[in-house]
């Protein structure tokens, strides 16, 4: 296959770098770090907390508070943008302080505080403020947490460790909505009960982080006395000069721009099949299950075969999903195939990107590098959703999918060349 051939060298270097100068094949036996398990548990509880609320929020706002959700949608977009930008800043702060756990704790704590606010929310503005707080908390915690994962993991098994974390994280994401709807099934207007349960899980998550996750140092080394202060804005330029990270950001940005939201994919599938609309929510659950099942195996593959290869191949899975949706034939087969491919896409890209970014970033700027990669992906995917909406109306769903698919094909084929040789000069630890 073309991709694998052109990427073979990159993969080798990947392995070389991951091994920190040792031989390519990871000889070190995989030993699961306790810290990563605890971080995974923190994410699991936090995701149960946040996804249970997110799942019922539209119903709560429209059905219970009697507010319109249109304006809320606009704010949600703004919040997501803010959350994406906060990531770099939080990563940078984490690197400056050298204590990722403290920054992550602030992020998890802010989201927890937002849950408390939810118990007292009445009007539109208080609700908006609370949701903004939750999103910003999510933005703050992500990069320092991934930095903690990086410093806790065996470098040879970095992606696999990220896979373990993402698996636990997704178990929470899958459980949260079920829990929330179960509560509402028993107590039809029991929104406050959902909020209380959500708060309980948030508290446990924060407690596990505070009590069981060690305050590992990452970022600026404690010894080697501080170099002259780096002006606040210069970090971006420095980052882009990192050999490799800049190119990774470019590739992630290009691929992100061609990643239409999975909401659109589900809509296309639904338009084609007109399967019973009440099963629509189950599509998300299906993708999520595939993601959590494959997170570890694909992380393992990334450690052995090359993270960049797996990251790019994940987008090939996405491409295959686009093609399936654009096919003229309908039925349950293509729909299920698409769910699996989407799950593969997430499993192959989410944790692997963080692993790749941390591998390409020097230790003293670890969280900044991870945060930058995640911000680039989040922002480019938001732009992609907006752009695809326009294509959808201009060309129709199937044609729009084909157009984006063609562009994605080019991007997937070009990516190995852009990433070729990344990580030459850099190593972790």
């Amino acid at each position: 296959m073309y991709i694998s051939v052109s990427d073979r060298n990159g993969g080798k270097k990947d392995g070389h770098v991951a091994g920190g100068g040792r031989t390519r094949r990871p000889e070190t036996r995989f030993k699961l770090s306790h810290t990563i398990v605890w971080l995974g548990v923190v994410s699991m509880f936090t995701d149960i907390s946040s996804e249970s609320v997110a799942a019922i929020l539209p119903l709560y706002i429209t059905g219970f508070l009697g507010l319109s959700v249109i304006a809320f949608g606009v704010l949600d977009g703004i919040n997501q943008g803010a959350s994406a930008l906060v990531r770099i800043a939080a990563g940078w702060a984490s690197d400056r302080m050298g204590h990722p756990k403290r920054v992550a704790l602030a992020g998890y704590g802010l989201s927890m505080a937002a849950r408390i606010g939810l118990l007292f929310a009445g009007g539109f503005w208080s609700l908006t403020a609370i949701i903004t707080g939750d999103r910003i908390g999510k933005g703050i915690r992500t990069a320092p947490r991934d930095a903690l994962i990086t410093v806790s993991a065996q470098p040879e098994h970095l992606a696999r460790h990220f896979g373990v974390h993402r698996m636990l994280d997704n178990i929470g994401a899958a459980t949260g909505p079920l829990l929330a709807f179960f509560v509402l099934m028993l107590i039809p207007n029991g929104y406050s009960t959902v909020f209380v349960v959500s708060l309980a899980f948030a508290v446990i998550g924060v407690a596990v982080l505070a009590l069981l996750v060690p305050d590992l140092r990452a970022g600026r080394p404690r010894s080697g006395k501080d170099e002259p202060k780096i002006p606040a804005l210069s970090f971006r330029w420095r980052m882009l000069r990192e050999p490799g990270l800049g190119r990774l950001l470019i590739v992630a940005g290009i691929l992100g721009l061609l990643t239409v939201g999975d909401g659109f994919i589900y809509l296309v599938l639904q338009d084609k099949n007109s399967f019973a609309v009440q099963w629509f929510p189950l599509l998300y659950v299906g993708t999520n299950l595939v993601f959590l099942v494959l997170a570890v195996p694909l992380g393992r593959l990334a450690d052995r075969w090359g993270k960049a290869k797996v990251f790019i191949s994940g987008h090939a899975a996405l491409l295959a999903c686009y093609l399936l949706t654009a096919m003229p034939f309908a039925g349950i087969g293509p729909t299920l195939g698409c769910l699996v491919l989407l799950g593969v896409f997430y499993a192959a890209t989410d944790g692997v990107l963080a692993a790749l970014a941390s591998q390409l970033t020097p230790p003293e700027r670890l969280a900044t590098g991870i945060g930058a990669a995640q911000t680039v992906v989040a922002v480019s995917r938001m732009a992609a959703s907006a752009g695809f909406g326009i294509l959808w109306f201009a060309l129709g769903p199937a044609t729009a999918m084909v157009v984006v698919g063609c562009m994605l094909t080019v991007a997937v084929l070009a990516s190995p060349f852009i990433l070729n040789g990344i990580g030459h000069e850099r190593r972790v630890a």
Binding site: P58, L59, F181, A218, F393
Partner: protein
């Protein structure tokens, strides 16, 4: 990289975590159990509004159909009061609905079916509260209207994004014959004409259909794109929407067909503040009414000079009242039916 050893097996940490977890889970569990008991008690308790006994069919005289939001038995169910005595006891039909609309012979009901996979449904009932037909909806119920003859139904739902995909909400509006014949599909696919030219904005949203008196083909609705909002005149047969006025949401045509009441966003920011306005169709004059509270409802006409609309109660979430308001600018709102939502006047 410095890695300070952390005693994960430090007993104290585990004890603190364990105690905290137990307290938190016990607290949330107790709260949930109490909420469940409260719900069971409330749903068995006598209604906080006066409820008439009997009445297994729609009244023969003109009546107002609405969603009963009085706590206790019958909460969330479709109910009726006679138009001649709106403050008197209500008759509850035994059918749960989030939004209702009626004609003399039929009731249209949009509802949420709660479950591990929560789904949404539209159902049409005959005058004896027997279900004629139901079909699945693609999102959370928002608005519904029937044409005067009761042959055609319009529904608007909020299609929600998902928390992973994230991106916001949009509406989906569909007009379909109640007998199950092929509907229009989403009104977003209709041709949209603004100022004599067809426009095809990518992010258009259509909501809040109101049928012209005695018509099933002609209607008014709201169209929005890029932050602009139009009142559009629509035709099912020609699959066309034509913008006729700016900034009018959730229109409602008066019984004589001469005026349109709608909600108008006075805030000009992302957080809407909707007031009620009335548009004279022949002259194009717009009259802003005196209701200063935020009205997020599709207004209903009580008669040719009076409007009805729902307003949430500040003191009790999930409860609301129906208010009446004259269509001259001086008229002041008055309480019409307590503990009620989604009014529909059947003459």
């Amino acid at each position: 990289m410095t890695r300070r050893r952390w005693e994960t097996d430090g007993k104290l940490r585990w004890v603190i975590l364990l105690v905290l977890t137990v307290i938190v889970i016990a607290g949330a569990g107790t709260y949930a159990a109490q909420a469940f008991q409260r719900f069971q008690a409330a749903s068995l308790a006598a209604s906080s509004a006066d409820i008439a006994s009997g009445g297994s069919s729609l009244p023969d005289q003109p009546f107002v159909l609405f969603r009963n939001t009085a706590s206790g038995v019958g909460y969330g169910q479709a109910a009726t009061v006679l138009l001649s005595a709106p403050g008197a006891e209500r008759t509850v039909g035994g059918v749960a609905c989030d939004r209702v609309y009626g004609t003399s012979g039929e009731v249209m009901c949009l509802r949420t079916n709660r479950g591990l996979v929560t789904s949404y449904e539209a159902a049409i009932y005959d005058r004896n509260w027997q279900e004629i037909r139901s079909w699945a909806l693609r999102g959370i119920p928002s608005r519904t209207r029937l044409d005067e003859a009761g042959s055609t139904a319009a529904t608007t739902v909020f299609v929600t994004g998902h928390s992973y995909a994230g991106t916001g909400f949009s509406t989906e509006t569909v007009i379909s014959p109640v007998d199950g014949g092929p509907g229009t599909g989403s009104l977003e696919d209709f041709a949209l004409w603004v100022n004599g030219a067809q426009v095809s904005p990518a992010d258009r949203n259509i909501w809040g259909v109101t049928f012209l008196p005695g018509q099933a083909d002609s209607f008014y609705a709201t169209a929005a794109s890029n932050g602009r909002i139009w009142l559009v005149e629509g035709s099912v047969s020609s699959r066309k929407l034509t913008a006729v006025h700016d900034g009018a949401e959730c229109p409602s045509v008066s019984p004589d067909g001469k005026r349109i009441a709608f909600k108008k966003n006075m805030a000009g920011t992302v957080t809407p503040l909707w007031n009620i306005a009335v548009l004279d169709i022949s002259t194009g004059t717009e009259t802003l009414l005196a209701e200063t509270r935020n009205v997020d409802d599709q207004v209903e006409w009580l008669d040719n000079s009076t409007l009805l609309y729902g307003l949430g109660r500040d003191d009790a979430a999930g409860d609301s009242d129906i208010w009446r308001l004259g269509t001259n600018a001086e008229s002041r709102p008055e309480l019409f039916i307590q503990h009620a939502w989604s009014p529909s006047v059947v003459r």
